[in-house]
Amino acid sequence: MKHNQEFFWPAYSLCKREVVRFFRQRSRVIGAIVPPLVFWFLIGSGLGNSFRGSNYLIYLFPGTLVMIVLFTAIFSTISIIEDRREGFLQSVLVAPIAPASVALGKILGGAMIAFLQSMIFVIIAPMLGASFTFLGFVFLLAILFLSAFGLTGLGFLIAWKMDSTQGFHSVMNLFLMPMWFLSGSLFPVEGAPMWLKCVMLFNPLTYSVTAVRMGLFSGNFIVLRSWPGPLFCLAVSLLFCAVTFSAAVLSCSKKTIGENIL
């Protein structure tokens, strides 16, 4: 009972508010979907002819899906900076809430937004020749949700200590975009030079992109034998969620003497 009071309901409150606010601001909804679509269409069409043997638009599709998740997840955590600046966070921080509940509510809210946005894109996938088995579809949903949760957690970590949205954008460009470039979205890991390959193998997004590719085309060909396999990708995504979530809880429960959390 007490657990519900201090954990579940506050998290539910923060999560629901996040989703309601997001869909109320149409520019944010469009801003997270249209740029990746344009990006996908232009780069995909332009590079398509230079790629021999396969359709680059289709190759780029899983990565674009992950990019939508990345954009939405990360940008939804900007709300933390806004909440702090506009004062809403004050009342959250003096309420009797477990820090894990604050982190869970915010991250789950952002993750749900990102997940729902990516679903819009999944709907058009069959038109591009993707065909998935039932199991593949479930796997795809699981991977998209876990990626959304992990990336929102990462965004939470970055945003919690920041007091300006400008700072957030520079981190985005410096750190998160390269993370996407090196995820196998634009070019396969196998073809990259050795040093880049090493970086890509340590990038959690590589496994998201690989898994999304497997899920989307699960009906087209069997990929079970290749490495990394679906279970490995799932495990990496779960680990990514666990790490970012724990770090997020730690960063918002830190309350030392003299520290001003408002």
Partner: protein, 310 residues
């Protein structure tokens, strides 16, 4: 103040230093607030009121000293005591993109209030604060006074025993201020303890008890009446082209106790009316203006700090 009644708020030896700051924002502050009182923290901006407010709201942990709310330590883990605390911040904490109702529902959930008991409580407070017809409006579109009322409802949803308000009348027009004070009195009548910070004398006058703060220290405490009586008699304030010469002349010729506060000559006296003709006779030509007044809280502040309240 009898020792047998437990204090709603007790503060002992509080010191606070902001990270990287050279000076203490609060230096050895002690006071207690009895249950059911309206307690005012009066002081100029930068006096330490807001810092003390943050400490009481449990947002910040003191560097030294103890705070007890209803006899308990509010900084114990799991924040159990926060249920007894209602906090109204100076800067708005409403979500302007949500409706009044949504703001209140999400706030209730933060305190674990759900279902029909939550709906009932919200309706009850909306009715009491005459906001029923604004329920579905976005919080950002309300006037400052109405927003402050929603803020108050937000803080009262979980029926706290102690209510903290940081500069509650900031940004309110005179009518909304009167309204606010009616609410504060109503809260007192229903047995709540209210602590508010203010830099307005007329607001401080309405408190049961006051603590006056200056540069992070508590310089006076007591009821507004007692504090003013302490100054006693009358206050004569004189302006002159040469305040210093005037001061010396009055001291040597009339034997009155004179001080200079911000270029004005200030005399605390028991019989102001009879002193005026004597002053005029001795140095009437040097005096530009002369004011006779009963002591105000501002005089209390001047007497305790030697500075003008600004």
């Amino acid at each position: 103040m009898t020792a047998s009644i437990p204090c709603a708020i007790a503060i002992e030896g509080i010191k606070f230093r902001y990270p990287k700051a050279k000076t203490l924002a609060l230096n050895n502050v002690n006071f207690s607030v009895n249950k059911g009182e309206i307690f005012g923290l009066l002081g100029p901006n930068g006096g330490g009121k807001s810092t003390l407010f943050k400490l009481l709201s449990t947002a910040v942990i003191p560097s030294e000293g103890t705070i007890r709310l209803n006899g308990k330590n509010p900084f114990m883990p799991n924040g159990g005591l926060r249920h007894e605390l209602g906090v109204i911040f100076q800067s708005p904490s409403l979500d302007s993109k949500l409706t009044v109702m949504e703001n209140l529902v999400y706030q209730s959930l933060l305190y674990g209030l759900t279902g029909s008991s939550m709906q009932q409580r919200i309706q009850e407070l909306l009715k009491r604060f005459k906001l029923l017809e604004k329920t579905n409006e976005y919080a950002g579109t309300l006037s400052g006074g109405l927003q402050r009322r929603v803020e108050i409802i937000k803080a009262l949803l979980h029926d706290p025993q102690i209510i903290l308000m940081d500069e509650p009348s900031t940004g309110l027009d005179p009518l909304a201020r009167i309204d606010l004070w009616n609410v504060i009195k109503e809260l007192k009548e229903s047995g709540k303890t209210i602590l508010l910070t203010t830099h307005l004398m007329e607001e401080a006058e309405r408190c049961d008890q006051l603590a006056i703060m200056h540069q992070g220290e508590l310089v006076a405490k007591g009821s507004p009446q007692t504090l003013k009586e302490e100054v006693g008699g009358d206050v004569l304030t004189l302006t002159a082209r040469e305040p210093e010469t005037l001061r010396q002349k009055i001291e040597s010729d009339l034997g009155l106790k004179v001080s200079i506060v911000d270029f004005a000559v200030r005399i605390e006296t028991q019989q102001g009316e009879s002193d005026i003709p004597r002053l005029m006779a001795v140095c009437g030509s040097e005096i530009l203006t002369l004011t006779l007044s009963k002591p105000t809280l501002e005089d209390v502040f001047i007497r305790r700090t030697g500075h003008k309240f600004s």
